[in-house]
Symmetry: C2
Subunit: 438 residues, 2 copies
């Protein structure tokens, strides 16, 4: 080993370059978070109330006296529709040149949300993901392999930046072919894997044996305790869940600690509530829709954003000693949205495409299978003209345009599908129940 004549860099904090001089991710306050949360919310309300894009909704709340966390419930909700502004970023309340990064959710023009980050927002995001990774043991000795996509999706860059901040050796596998991932995993023997649970299962199923990996950090799609057991058995790893969403910041909202009993919410920056369908706050421990307030973002702070994700909160002490509250693994979506091949699919989007189509359709459902590495989405729809292959092709095109995702179409004669009447679930998800080769 030789000396390092050039070690002194002009990056004293090591933020870009990975020098592990990061104190904050492993430090957490044991004080009551409310005074800081309150100050941040009041600051956000004051900024929103003066911003032309938000004044109408928030000016009335600029001087709201927040006494207890329950007072949050007086404020209006923010929904996904509020974030779909045109031109994009015009609601961000900062000079455009202060935005240094843009990410976007999956979807098509109409339902894609586009989020900008100032330098401080990027820093916040990176520190929040790093806090979770540090809790799970990622440090400068770690060798991290990521199969996440680094692009508009926040998952890849979010984890990449945080692992870099912690000084780990980061191998951004990205969207390489599976054989390439496997070759590099075999030769570089990473200690940490960033992936989606389904892709990590696919790699282990298809390319066994792989060298053991100490830690797997997963996110971006729902998975079960059974998946965790399989991942831990196949990879010889501890498998942990994380939570985040691009509308709020990306990954970094919540992370499991090594005890794996719920995900700690970084509630100094992402303040959680649980509500019922009518929007009424529910007590801790009750299942309902997660609402997040992100008041410390510079660009577009969020007040009471309805995530659509169903979970419950736990404010009891965690055996790890962290005082951050915990949220349960996401059970499902209040809007029936599912993630298929990384794309958010909502039955309402399909319903609109069917309604806009000249042909008449009866009952319908969305079937998802995972025959290999990738999910296959099939729209099964009843139709009087079910024998016309060109109709299936035409519908396929329309639904593909609506979802931004390739879809198979199977037309059935009327009366074939079960009619449940009224609001049906629309989903037949065969991904998680398929028999596995174990």
């Amino acid at each position: 080993m030789w000396s390092h004549p050039h070690r002194k860099t002009d990056d004293p904090q090591g933020l870009l370059m990975g020098t592990p001089r990061i104190l904050e991710p492993t430090q957490e306050s044991h004080h009551d978070p409310w005074p800081l949360q309150r100050a941040a919310i009041q600051d956000a309300l004051s900024r929103l109330g003066r911003d032309p894009a938000h004044r109408e909704r928030f000016a009335p709340w600029m001087n709201l006296a927040l006494h207890t966390p329950a007072d949050l419930a007086q404020l209006p909700f923010t929904t996904r529709a509020h974030l779909q502004v045109d031109p994009p970023l015009s609601d961000h309340g900062v000079p455009k040149s202060d935005i240094v990064r843009v990410h976007a959710s999956s979807g098509t023009t109409g339902n894609r949300t586009i989020s900008g980050y100032t330098a401080a927002d990027l820093n916040l995001w990176t520190r929040m993901v790093a806090r979770g990774l540090a809790a799970l043991g990622v440090d400068r000795e770690s060798v991290v392999y990521s199969t996440l996509a680094h692009g508009l999706f926040t998952g890849g860059f979010g984890f990449h930046q945080a692992a870099t901040m912690l000084g780990a050796t980061v191998i951004p596998g990205g969207q390489a072919r599976s054989a390439t991932h496997v070759d590099l995993i075999r030769r570089l023997q990473p200690t940490v894997l960033f992936s989606t649970p389904s892709y990590a299962l696919h790699l282990a199923d298809r390319f066994s044996p792989l060298p053991p990996v100490t830690l797997g950090v997963f996110g971006a799609e729902p998975w079960s305790e059974a998946d965790r057991k399989r991942l831990e058995a196949l990879w010889g790893m501890r498998a942990h869940d994380t939570y985040g969403l691009s509308e709020v910041i990306g990954p970094g909202v919540a992370f499991e600690c090594p005890y794996g009993q719920g995900m700690h919410i970084n509630s100094d920056h992402f303040i959680p509530e649980i509500i019922d369908e009518s929007g009424t706050p529910l007590p801790a421990g009750t299942w309902g829709e997660l609402v997040l307030t992100a008041p410390t973002r510079h660009a577009r702070p969020l007040i009471r954003y309805r995530t659509g994700d169903r979970t419950r909160l736990d404010f009891s002490p965690c055996p790890c000693g962290r005082t951050l509250p915990r949220m349960a693994r996401i059970r499902d979506r209040v809007d029936n949205m599912k993630v298929v091949r990384g794309v958010n699919v909502r039955p309402t989007d399909v319903a609109e495409a069917l309604a806009a189509h000249p042909a008449e359709f009866g009952s319908w459902l969305l079937e998802v299978t995972r025959p290999g590495a990738l999910d296959v989405l099939t729209l099964v729809a009843e139709c009087e003209e079910s024998g016309r292959p060109e109709l299936a092709r035409d519908l396929q095109k329309a639904v593909r345009a609506a979802l931004g995702l390739t879809v198979q179409v199977r037309l059935e004669t009327l009366g074939t599908l079960p009619h449940t009447g009224g609001k049906t679930h629309r989903w037949k998800d065969l991904r998680l129940t398929k028999p596995h080769r174990t």
Copy 2:
């Protein structure tokens, strides 16, 4: 617009976060570079000579007295084979935990090169790309859209990091679908595009009209002056070339200035020579193989690396005032390598696969076309059993494994292909000559 109570970040250099406090990229020395180059080379030789992985080759040169740049020619060459060590990174001469990033070239297990970066190497890389981007006008007012892949390939991250360092608004489109890129380009109206020339042409051909983009920065594949004219006409942009290779550092080795008359080599860190087939140095202005010495890398400094790229050097003053020497656009490869769908394809790899196959083949060639967005590679091979479709399928599998790239196989009867005898060119590249819709 509101105030920024949180603007003060713990990133005073703005390296991660894009605060535009970057002095170096726009500053270049007008002094003779040799004293600094010499000191860096002597430092690299001293490190290599003491490193167990390199001692055998470099210990004899540790105390070489370098008087003039011509003395470089006394040192041994480094070839791609020298970089393919097992285990990977074992030749990097730094503690493994000092490596914060790993990238890899395309290819398969046997011919992939894997490169590690220390924090200082990442910093060097980012500054060198930023120097080129700054020369072309990228700054904190720029809105940059990138269609490059952010993964093992150095192109995506190299440009991303540098644009972030310069404080631009960076939109990492990455490997999204073309329709997604186009939607975001239309709505976010970037001023700068990072792409491969072929993909930018594809987008413009397929999705016209697109909003004009001021500047296009291209790399990663060969392109022509005709391509430049088409890109400039279709996108309303200035289109500029850059040069780099993952074995040396990635993009950032050389970049065009706004005059576009050759690419300025960052010769304070990447010292160029041109050699003939026998390895003899050639005078400035002569076409030959580019050799690069990268002595300031911490991890695996490179002495006289044979790039395989054919170009020529120009040390005359540039109208822009920069004193960095210039290299001509890459004409071709000395090893006949071509880049197909981002993968390096060498006829020698195909020859080996054919030789290892039980069937007997006659003459053969590689045909590349670009019917749509993507290149199609076809192996045309003479064979006595040319009528057997299962032979074509079997050969397809073998060549795919050798190249890491899907390939079409067309078997012809013996005597169909032109026999040129001896060393044939093997390539029929129809990508750049196809009639374009203009």
